[in-house]
């Protein structure tokens, strides 16, 4: 057994740190796009938009029913052979698309559950004052559902940040890819992967603090 090469680990910190922005970029873009898609899909399912809600159900079933890695490979290596226009799809874009679609399926289901959880009387009260369906949803129902869904959505965001490490299998040099490259030239695998692990851990911990603050803020309306 050997000890850890701490000097090397310290040297690695700035190297891995320089890839934090790319990891966050992929996660944040995929989160925003995925959330928007998830809200639309959840609403389509709740108000049962004719035939569209069936399309959404199949979409959700597929993206929840297959592994993220398989989906990423399908987008990056598979689709361009079928659709030549996608030949120029770079790894980062493919990863963002994959993360967006994959997590939107999960988020749509938790948002749908949260919408259904809002008491029926809230819909009726909003309708009774003459609001349109869109106003009812955006002004009354979704704000309340977001409070219920927030903890779960934050968990998906955390999963998504960690999921960006799979982009390295598409040839993207992000945090994980950088650690892998470093390790394969120095053969100091424990050091490289330990450093990258700590980086993910710190990012997730910082987010968890933000999550607690967000929940306190969203919980304002129900606390006495």
């Amino acid at each position: 057994m050997r000890g850890l090469d701490t000097a090397y680990m310290l040297d690695l910190i700035p190297v891995i740190a320089s890839y934090v922005p790319l990891t966050l970029f992929m996660a944040i873009v995929a989160m925003i796009a995925g959330l928007a898609l998830a809200i639309v899909m959840a609403v389509i399912r709740v108000i049962r938009v004719p035939w569209l809600h069936r399309v959404v159900a199949v979409f959700i079933s597929f993206f929840r029913g297959t592994p993220l890695l398989v989906q990423l490979f399908l987008f990056y290596f598979g689709l361009p052979q079928l659709v030549p226009a996608l030949n120029n799809l770079d790894g980062v874009t493919a990863a963002i698309i994959g993360l967006t679609l994959h997590f939107s399926a999960y988020m749509a289901e938790s948002i749908r559950g949260a919408i259904i959880g809002v008491d029926r009387s809230q819909w009726e009260a909003a309708q009774s004052i003459g609001m349109t369906q869109k106003q009812v949803l955006t002004r009354i129902i979704l704000p309340q559902a977001s409070r219920t869904a927030a903890p779960t959505l934050m968990n998906y965001f955390i999963d998504m940040i960690k999921g960006t490490s799979l982009a390295f299998t598409l040839g993207v040099t992000e945090m994980m890819g950088a650690a892998q490259k470093e390790a394969s030239s120095t053969f100091l695998y424990p050091e490289a992967f330990l450093v990258v692990a700590v980086f993910y851990w710190i990012i997730v911990e910082v987010l968890s603090v933000g999550q607690r603050q967000l929940e306190t803020r969203l919980g304002k309306a129900v606390s006495r």
Binding site: Q122, E124, A125, S128, I129, G130, I140, A221, R224
Partner: protein
């Protein structure tokens, strides 16, 4: 005299169950009508149909110059009707994500397109009318049942509706809060607001209503001035009901 509110042949079925079986009712401007009757006779359904929370299967509802026919009603007709009829719910149904003030303002800004400052001024006026001038920033969860229901009434008042509908407004309240809510409704009634109130508070109905409507089995059995209904009802079913509750 012509009716301000004219309900004509209203029918509502839930599956095979006909809950409203041809309701005709005419309200004069400023008339206050209380609907009484046994549970499950369609009183609440009638109110909900007037606001299209339940869509009637047949019949016409006229409010002022607007007539909505159940067989042809479009979304726009339904919205127009709802903007002319305020609804007060048994369980208050305040918007849980909004303060008392925002609950009252919501219809003014979102539905009627008022500016925020104008709506806020009106909401503050209503808050003081309902005796909650100091609770504008409170969320529903932080208020008593009586306070919540007063905000619920304030929210309906804000619409300046031609017709206010009260669906058993005190039934969900702890006894200690019933008085303050009835007092508020009484004050609104004194302002000659046209209203239709479903209630189990017989004494209250007798006191504020110009007319009592007794419903049973999805039909109007008998109607008339309070003294006549409570003192000298003509129909056996009315008398039997009043004996049971009185």
């Amino acid at each position: 005299m012509s009716c301000q509110i004219d309900i004509d042949g209203l029918v509502k079925r839930f599956g095979d169950n006909t809950v409203l079986n041809g309701i005709d009712l005419c309200l004069q401007p400023g008339e206050r009508v209380a609907i009484i009757g046994p549970s499950g006779t369609g009183k609440s359904t009638l109110l909900r149909c007037l606001n299209y929370l339940d869509r009637p299967d047949e019949g016409r509802i006229t409010v002022g110059d607007l007539t909505v026919d159940a067989t042809t009603a479009q979304k726009s007709d339904i919205l127009a009707l709802r903007r002319r009829t305020g609804f007060v719910f048994q369980n208050y149904a305040l918007f849980a994500n909004k303060t008392a003030r925002d609950n009252i303002m919501e219809g003014l800004t979102t539905v009627r397109g008022w500016s925020k400052s104008k709506a806020q001024a009106r909401a503050d006026e209503i808050l003081s009318q309902i005796g909650l001038g100091d609770r504008g920033n409170s969320y529903p969860a932080a208020m008593s049942g009586g306070q919540q229901q007063r905000v619920g009434i304030g929210r309906a008042m804000a619409l300046d509706a031609d017709l206010l509908l009260f669906d058993e407004p005190t039934s969900a309240l702890d006894p200690e809060w019933v008085g303050e809510v009835l007092d508020l409704i009484r004050r609104i009634a004194d302002g000659r607001q046209t209203m239709l109130i479903v209630t189990h508070e017989m004494q209250f109905a007798r006191e504020i209503a110009d007319r009592i409507v007794f419903m049973e089995g999805g039909r109007i059995v008998e109607q008339g001035p309070p003294d006549q209904i409570f003192g000298n009802a003509q129909d056996d079913r009315t008398r039997a009901f009043l004996r049971r509750v009185g």
